[in-house]
């Protein structure tokens, strides 16, 4: 179709290319978005979705290619120009000041100089009319992640855009909050606005999107109508081959198994004004089982992981017990020596030192537990031994890499995560605590990691998985507990758990949480 006709697409992209050094993040990408459609941009993590939309919003400049807006060729040099054209964007990572109110945050992004009270009134009216109620006077620091996203959306809508780009909007929402969002999106579509919807969640794309463009390794691999596809066929387009399903044999005799990790009345004061306190958390993980902890990001999962791992030890020694012994007062090294292993959320800079070789990163978490093997007399590191052990892990976990012992930063996210998980599995830990095991990991590697976690549990270890990915938790857990505002619900056995029940808990619906409850109607 010609870009100059009256029925031209709102947005048309041809041959857009962006390279970072030797990496081609977007490779001759074509995309068209018609007026009044919800268009999905599908792809795995690292497929180039975010790079593409950053070029559309003017925060990245393409190396080559053309962008047409209403049939007219444009060069989008900065976000201000994109906004002027009528493109609005809601980022995956919010850019809000926690110490300011919602209205002040909105005022900062609209540089029209109108008084805050006017903006607040407009924002309130707009938010109610779109079913996303928002109190403009509330401090961002006090709001839930879902409410913060509303600020971003309202701020975007106040600029009356023609095209709204949403980057993974439901990754921070409960299923019920997501339903609310979908209603709003459909409302916007009925008003003739277009939406570019970025996601890797197939079910929601099938549910609300009219057309989809699928990206893989920076290239467009197909355009389709998601309603006519199955989740499996979409997954195949995204990943390039079939992903093996994770196999989970039901756990046997868990009720009588030995508790290996016990958390008793764990509380923690907030470390900073905007971090979440932990409130009286109780949990038992027994030998042989996988317990999942669900929850919207920022409800205390990070604080919980630090407390369980011993990166921040507790006052009360009995608040964390490993293999029947008090561990609350011990450091992370002390807890490792009792048989526990930990995998944090951030890979680079927390789970691994980016500029160090894999063999050195092996030493990072195992210098004490395998002291005799890896460290010789007088504190000399046995470099042959750590090299051999690193190679063993690389082989066992199928870590793909370009050199025999590369720096951690040189690996892709999935491969580095496989190495970090493998580093801990290699010890055969009796307690394993993992935060976001497959965040940003490609589907093949994610399935591999999930399978190994299940196998570790079935071989007699206790596995605790903290994740925002509900599909993942349903796949691997024997029971799921939900963390909301620093409190942990009772674990729900997997046979009783449904998305709806877990979603309600994620919104804070458990009795006693009423005062923090979100609108879940």
């Amino acid at each position: 179709m010609s870009a100059n006709q009256d029925d031209a697409n709102l947005l048309e992209v041809r041959g857009l290319t962006k390279t970072f050094g030797t990496l081609t993040a977007c490779d001759h990408v074509d995309l068209s978005v018609a007026n009044g459609e919800i268009h999905a941009l599908l792809g795995e993590n690292g497929a180039g979705k975010s790079t593409l939309v950053k070029m559309l919003f003017g925060t990245l400049e393409p190396n080559s290619g053309e962008i047409f807006w209403n049939g007219r060729a444009v060069t989008i040099t900065n976000p201000g120009f994109a906004k002027k054209l009528g493109i609005g964007m809601v980022f995956q990572h919010f850019s809000l000041f926690e110490a300011l109110t919602a209205a002040e945050n909105i005022a900062l992004s609209l540089d029209d100089g109108s008084p805050i009270s006017t903006i607040a009134a407009k924002a309130r009216a707009l938010s109610y009319s779109y079913g996303l109620p928002l109190d403009p006077q509330s401090l961002v620091g006090d709001l839930s992640v879902g409410e913060r996203q509303r600020i971003e959306i309202i701020r975007c809508l106040l600029q009356t855009p023609q095209l709204i780009i949403l980057d993974e909007p439901t990754s921070v929402l409960t299923p019920q909050e997501a339903d609310k969002l979908f209603e709003t999106l459909e409302r916007l579509r009925s008003e003739g606005k277009s939406i570019l919807y970025i996601s890797h969640r197939l079910e929601e794309v099938k549910r609300i999107c009219d057309r989809a463009t699928v990206l893989r390794h920076g290239k467009v691999v197909g355009h389709c109508n998601p309603r006519k596809e199955t989740a499996a066929s979409l997954a195949r387009m995204m990943v390039g081959n079939d992903v093996e399903a994770v196999v989970r044999a039901p756990a046997q005799g868990i009720e009588t198994a030995q508790p290996l990790l016990e958390i008793r009345a764990l509380s923690r004061k907030p470390a900073t004004p905007f971090s979440i306190p932990l409130r009286n958390i109780n949990l038992t993980v027994r030998a042989g089982e996988v317990i999942g902890i669900a929850g919207v990001a920022g409800n205390g999962q990070g604080e919980f992981f630090e407390s369980v791992s011993g990166e921040v030890p507790q006052q009360d020694a009995a608040s964390v017990r490993i293999r029947g012994k008090d561990a609350g007062g011990l450091s992370i090294t002390g807890r490792r020596l009792m048989g526990a292993a930990f995998v944090p959320e951030e890979r680079l800079g927390h789970g691994a030192a980016p500029r160090m070789k894999l063999s050195e990163n092996l030493l990072l978490s195992r210098h004490a537990t395998d002291g005799k093997v890896f460290v010789g007399a007088g504190g000399m590191v046995k470099s042959d031994a750590i090299y051999a052990a690193a190679q063993r892990i690389i082989k066992a976990m199928d870590v793909r890499k370009s050199a025999p012992d590369p720096e951690a930063a040189a690996l892709s996210g999935g491969n580095l995560q496989k190495f970090i998980v493998g580093r801990e599995l290699d010890r055969r830990p009796s307690v394993m605590v993992v935060n976001q095991p497959t965040w940003g990991v490609d589907a093949g590697a994610a399935a591999h990691i999930r399978q190994t976690l299940i196998e570790l549990a079935r071989s007699g270890s206790a596995v605790l998985v903290i994740s925002q990915d509900l599909d993942e938790l349903f796949e691997i857990s024997d029971a799921i507990a939900v963390m909301h505002n620093g409190e942990l619900s009772k674990p729900l056995p997997i046979v009783e758990a449904t998305f709806e029940k877990i979603g309600l808990l994620m919104g804070g619906a458990e009795p006693g949480h009423a005062e923090h409850a979100l609108e879940t109607s």
Partner: protein, 370 residues
């Protein structure tokens, strides 16, 4: 309108990383030539006097070793701090305290002689330097103060303390009111290595041994790994179970001990008594040595010799050409400037970006690598 932007390079060039100190040295020479020309001196002749004449005879090489020894000792210690991302700028003060505490034995007990005196003095010197370095370490660990400021300010405290000592309680009563202590007795003097050919003393050997030991520590031992992890990714270090506060004390006290050893070696070797000024800024010049040596103990040995030459050259041009010996400071400053500049350009490249006409090739912002 144009603006400059630093763009991170995808890969660091190994070749240029290794060459960077040499490139910096060449750039310093070029800038120095311009400087000499502006002063109305023939640059070729000036460089001959500055860099070649001070090392043309054997006794002069001894002088070079005397100047290089403290620079290397201090630089090696500082390299551990800087690798741990801990910014000890106060080696000059730790050097002085090492000199004072080590000298306390010959000054307060002039009758005490024998083979034990010297080892005890050296030990006292190291303890003095380490203890003085523990002050900024404690302030950082306990109150989270900025160690750059505290360690730097303690330099002036140390300088004034030494000044007070040699003018007051420790002044030589038979010294005609000169501000200096008594001459140390013979067993408190650090022996010369080869008295037949020059004055160089055992301090240079200490420096070489310290460089090799610290190199082994940093590249082969778990403690060195701990230093590197905490320096490059502190959160990963905490995950590894390494304590950041323990590291602050370790790095400060190790570098303080080496600076203290350098101080007492200088006092008992090259000077033979305490006087108001015992260092021509070794503690600060050693910062340049540490970076010029790429924070690698073996590289620091070479860098220490280069910096020692700038001191000797400064004295040489003063006597031969009548140029202020402050020119040595200028050369040291230029050297550090060019080393840091080269290092920056190895990690980043400069992009010129016109604001009026944005082009498609314009650079990404640093954080947006996908």
């Amino acid at each position: 309108m144009m603006r400059l932007e630093l763009v991170k390079r995808p890969q660091r060039s190994m070749l240029f990383s290794a060459l960077s100190p040499f490139i910096a040295f060449v750039l310093t020479i070029i800038a120095g030539a311009i400087l000499f020309a502006l002063l109305g001196v023939n640059p070729v002749k000036a460089f001959q006097i500055y860099f070649l004449e001070p090392v043309s005879q054997v006794w002069q090489l001894h002088e070079l070793a005397i100047k290089a020894a403290p620079l290397i000792l201090i630089g090696v210690g500082l390299s551990v701090c800087y690798r741990a991302n801990i910014w000890n700028i106060g080696a000059e003060g730790q050097f002085i305290l090492g000199g004072i505490v080590g000298s306390s034995i010959p000054v307060l007990f002039p009758q005490f002689e024998g083979p034990l005196v010297l080892p005890l003095m050296l030990l006292f010197g190291m303890v003095g330097g380490a203890a003085y370095a523990a002050i900024p370490a404690l302030l950082k660990a306990r109150f989270n103060t900025n160690e750059i400021l505290t360690s730097l300010m303690l330099v002036y405290v140390a300088q004034l303390f030494l000044d007070w000592l040699v003018r007051g309680p420790w002044r030589d009563p038979k010294g005609f009111n000169f501000p200096q202590t008594i001459q140390f007795n013979d067993s408190a003097i650090l022996p010369e290595l080869m008295p037949a050919s020059g004055r160089a003393n055992w301090g240079f050997v200490f420096a070489l041994v310290a460089a090799v030991l610290v190199w082994i520590l940093m590249s082969r031992m778990l403690k060195g790994f701990e230093v590197r992890v905490l320096g490059s990714s502190p959160r990963a270090g905490r995950f590894a179970g390494f304590g950041i506060n323990r590291m602050v004390f370790f790095a400060f006290m190790l570098s303080g001990a080496l600076a203290g050893l350098a101080g007492i070696s200088e006092v008992s070797g090259a000077i033979g008594q305490l006087q108001p000024v015992i260092s021509p800024g070794y503690g600060f010049a050693a910062i340049i040595v540490a970076f010029l040596g790429r924070l690698n103990p073996l590289g620091i040995v070479a860098a220490g010799l280069v910096l020692a030459l700038t001191y000797l050259g400064g004295e040489a041009v003063q006597s031969a050409l009548g140029i202020s010996d402050k020119v040595a400071r200028v050369f040291q400053g230029m050297l550090l400037f060019f080393v840091l500049g080269c290092d920056t350009l190895i990690h980043y490249r400069i992009r010129l970006i016109g604001l009026a006409t944005p082009t498609l090739e314009a650079a990404p912002k640093l954080e947006e690598a996908r």
